[in-house]
């Protein structure tokens, strides 16, 4: 068994694909219309055959209160690996991205947390070489 897709719940798929591609730099992989929404996924340009991120609509009535509660407490459910947290922080801030936590050393790792504009907080982390 392997993980081929994981999802974030977004409030608007059009806004989400713009943010996740133009701002974050991911690449659209699948955009398959399914009723009112699409099976809409992105991948890292560094790993186009790797795990896909599904931009899943948050239309379920429980989704929005759940997301709001997580955001209020600063909790990111999704985490992306970067080579340089400081550089990514500066790059994204220059693009207007709002961080709830600037780069901070947490023991062996450095992390930062930003708002994806779609109702989620996202953590970026430099993963030490294995």
């Amino acid at each position: 068994m392997r993980i081929y897709v994981t999802s974030v719940l977004v409030d608007d798929q059009a806004k989400a694909i713009a943010f996740y591609t133009e701002t974050l730099g991911f690449v659209k992989k699948n955009d398959i219309p399914l009723g009112e929404a699409s099976w809409l996924t992105v991948v890292s340009p560094d790993d186009p055959g790797g795990t896909e991120l599904l931009l899943e609509p948050d239309g379920h009535p429980a989704a929005k209160p759940w997301k709001a509660a997580l955001v209020a407490d600063g909790i990111p459910l999704t985490s992306f690996a970067v080579d340089d947290v400081e550089a990514e922080y500066e790059r994204l801030r220059a693009l207007g991205v709002r961080f709830t936590q600037p780069p901070t050393a947490m023991g062996p790792v450095t992390t930062a947390v930003f708002d994806d504009t779609c109702g989620n907080l996202i953590q970026i982390v430099r993963v030490p070489a294995a």
Binding site: A68, D73, I75, T100, T104, G107
Partner: protein, 90 residues
């Protein structure tokens, strides 16, 4: 107003103040991350939230909401004159 000394009597609450002294405006998630990664304190998020309530009642931290986020900062005023009654020589 809660008791400052009672608030400071707990080592987890002192660790929270250690971390908030580093930078203002931390989310609950950041405080929990710092406690886990830097102090090896694996308290539940709910327990940390209760510690924050005690610190806030004692006037040692303040919270503010900005949009959808909630941030915590240290308030040093209650600490500044805490020992004055014993330090003043008549």
């Amino acid at each position: 107003m809660g008791d400052v000394f009672k608030a400071l009597a707990d080592p987890t609450r002192r660790a929270i103040l250690d971390e908030l002294a580093d930078r203002d405006d931390q989310t609950l998630f950041e405080i929990c991350s710092r406690l886990a990664m830097k102090h090896r304190l694996e308290s539940s998020r709910q327990a940390i939230s209760q510690h924050l309530d005690v610190l806030e009642a004692a006037g040692l931290i303040a919270t503010r909401r900005e949009g959808r986020y909630k941030f915590h900062s240290i308030k040093r005023a209650p600490l500044e004159h805490i020992a004055d009654p014993w330090l003043e020589r008549s």
